[in-house]
Assembly symmetry: C2
């Protein structure tokens, strides 16, 4: 019967869907508990709001999935995944700020500003250290994981900083964009997406593998997998989303991404593979 | 002879001066080496500029002085001190951003904007993770200091975040200020300075003591000493600088600060005491 493969693919997709949903629900629960509404409420209430108002980003879930793929337990990567969401939320918040010299890139969604720009600037500045605090606090003498936590701290600092997201945003500023017109070539757009979205996802996957006890080879494979997945994200939903020729590049990136998973074994391979279609 | 006490005080002051100068020179040298002009140059060149353009802040030097006071070696606190300068520079950079709803507080100096606001927002966002990266990289297996580094990471994250500097800046926004008029009472100003400048200095002193191997009692004494020193800084040079009644509060804070040093012994006590007069 011709409907069987289709049906089994639907089942697989829905299984993967529930895998992601369960990961995302766990990250959200962890964040809610990690950012309680504590004093000063004037600061924490809006921070809480902005952390959860930021659109979901696959990098935190990828961190958990990579940890589980190499045989680790979800809890080992939970703090790092939460930190990645905070970094993404901080960046998202700062990208919305109305600055006097800011053009509006196509990739920037229009959001409702619940608070003034001054407050949103400050809250973004508060989320970044909160992320590093959460991560450092996940140090657990019983697990003897200090070295892994410090390594992941360096990974995340680089991915969000001047050799990762900040660098990508910098490049994006240099590319004049206006609605309907195509002013940057597709290679340039891919470069922006690699830095802006790719590095955070590469970092997420590598950190998950580090925390889950993966080998150096596994860590590097998952880092490259994450880089492709994040670049696809940027091409489809970020700087590249209205560009011509995107789908061809995305297809190439999907193949490259899946190649990185070839040597992994076990039931989680299929689930993490589905990230190329997120 | 009546001139003797005066003369010996001058000698002491100049000795302390050279102590601070040598600390600050060491921090600057460490930062210059830690932030090389590496690719992408478009990002690193302006970041380099803004890191060193930020006015000097006593919190990093206090970190080194506290480390030496408890018997540690300067090198043990050098990365943390450099991180504190980066955090101060990031905050300083963001405080200069022209935002649409931003009043100009008296405490905010007018600076020349070498780069556009967009770039300055991004560079501030890049300096914070760079600071955490520097700190995490100072982890040294030979010293077995991972636990101290992680503890200091949490200290710095809190001091610069929503329970420290960010909270203070938040309160500052709530206090309407206009040139020549006094709209906030001195107690409120003291509270703002405690959060905005006090917490960073408290953190600096506590981190120096942690990294230098001080006892818990020494760490807490130095934390309180730093809190008073930082609040004095804010009262004299920050939010409080044009308020009436500041000098009386400053005098009280100086006495409280010096009380915290009473049980410390050795040649470095005098040098760190002089911080109350910075």
């Amino acid at each position: 019967r011709a409907s069987l493969p289709h049906r089994s693919m639907m089942v697989t997709m829905s299984q993967n869907q529930s895998y992601w949903s369960s990961i995302n629900a766990d990250i959200e629960a962890h964040l809610k508990q990690a950012i309680p509404l504590r004093p000063p409420l004037q600061v924490f209430e809006p921070m809480h709001h902005l952390v959860f108002a930021a659109p979901q980003n696959p990098a935190p879930a990828l961190c958990i999935a990579a940890c589980e793929l190499v045989g680790g337990h979800r809890d080992q990567a939970m703090a790092a995944a939460s930190t990645l969401h905070l970094m993404h939320a901080a960046s998202f918040t700062h990208q919305q700020l109305p600055l006097t010299d800011r053009p509006r890139p196509k990739s920037r969604p229009t959001i409702h500003h619940a608070y003034g720009p001054n407050i949103e600037l400050l809250l973004g500045d508060g989320m970044i250290p909160l992320g590093f605090e959460l991560l450092a606090r996940s140090d657990d003498p019983a697990q003897n994981n200090s070295d892994r936590i410090l390594r992941v701290t360096i990974e995340i600092a680089r991915a969000i900083g001047s050799q990762g997201m900040v660098e990508g945003q910098y490049y994006e500023l240099e590319c004049p964009q206006s609605e309907g017109e195509e002013l940057c070539d597709i290679g340039w757009i891919e470069q922006v997406c690699k830095k802006k979205e790719g590095e955070l996802h590469a970092c997420g996957a590598a950190c998950g593998a580090i925390l889950g006890g993966g080998s150096e080879a596994e860590i590097e494979k998952l880092r490259r997998f994450g880089l492709y997945v994040g670049t696809i994200q940027g091409m489809l939903h970020g700087a590249g989303k209205l560009e011509k020729g995107v789908m061809k590049v995305v297809e190439e990136l999907r193949n490259l991404a899946l190649k990185e998973l070839e040597e992994f074994k076990g039931g989680k391979v299929e689930a993490i593979s589905s990230f190329v279609n997120v």
